[in-house]
Symmetry: C2
Subunit: 232 residues, 2 copies
Amino acid sequence: MKLIAFDADDTLWVNEPNYVDVKQELCTLLSHHVDEETLTNRFYDAQIRNLHIFGYGAKSFILSMIETAIELTDGAITGYEIQQIIDVGRRLIDFPIDVLDGIPEVLETLSKDFDLMVLTKGDLFDQESKIARSGLGHYFKHVEIVSEKNEQAYQRVLQKYNVRPSDFIMIGNSLKSDILPVVHIGARAIHIPYAITWVHEQVADEHLVGKSFTTLESARELLAILKIKEIN
Amino acid sequence: MKLIAFDADDTLWVNEPNYVDVKQELCTLLSHHVDEETLTNRFYDAQIRNLHIFGYGAKSFILSMIETAIELTDGAITGYEIQQIIDVGRRLIDFPIDVLDGIPEVLETLSKDFDLMVLTKGDLFDQESKIARSGLGHYFKHVEIVSEKNEQAYQRVLQKYNVRPSDFIMIGNSLKSDILPVVHIGARAIHIPYAITWVHEQVADEHLVGKSFTTLESARELLAILKIKEIN
């Protein structure tokens, strides 16, 4: 049986806008210390620097916010203000999950004919919590949360479940994490772009030359492309 | 084939003393604000409160240290001092891994006759990094990092690998996480206590009544108890 894996954030549900909102709150909290452009740049630098130390996810994001605030105020920021930053960041842990249009219906239909998997990178605790809060968990036979979605990670997952690349389909919004490494291991990838993409996940057009994958506008188009008869 | 799973922290390598050292550094950093006993108690409260929000691991520990410092100084702690706390906490991300006595030899021998797994709870990023730094990764056919080690988590792992409880052996230092839930699902558990146990992992004696498991002094005794002929 074919295995269809879905990315989670911004594929099954809205995620990035929550991070953008929290970063915007950080701008507001620090507006008397620094302008927005400087903050945005220095915060991105902190995030990338900390990616190798703390990984992805809410806790890493909060720690990068704190470090950026300390750095940009030369340590003058108070404990009270840092607690405000933590409290704003905490929203990333329990925001209500806004499932994307068409997802429940598509999962309902696909789960009758395929083994479905959530295959996401990030913080284990964050991602498990989001899956639980989404109410979508029961559609998925498997959940795999990995620290980075590269070719090796996909190969490990396929080996673990004894699935050949020709029997694997990955669906996601990130060209970098969901599409290119999957194409490179000879499996099928379906790209459903989301309105906004974190800079770190963006891919230059030149990296797409010669790669074959399908791009859809919404998850609703999956059934047609996977030749599944829709049940209404 | 039987599946033997090893807990990681304080079973394969020294972990808890690193956390104790970092907490001790926090005491030193805050010594002009608060006495050690108060700090220890409030920090433990913060850790337990944050366990449900941030989970286990280094990042959660650092955030709890920051919150405790802000709370105990009524927000008077400076950004500069908080950066010191983060820098001390960062040691939890890259401390050198001190593999426990006898572990490499035991894994070398067992890996010839059994499928070995690392089965640990905690932060995905932390735990993967420690496995890589330990140099023990090649002995393990599987790695499973879960957010909590309870009966459901063990059942999910056994289902995933299609292993019956009677073919599963769990080895670890925590009665709460490695032994009791494993005994409760009808599998075999071998307890190898470590010198110190985090308060949160401690179990009252009354919970052990009627439970069958084996306690060993060191991993070196595993080969005899598993009736494996040692090769020298």
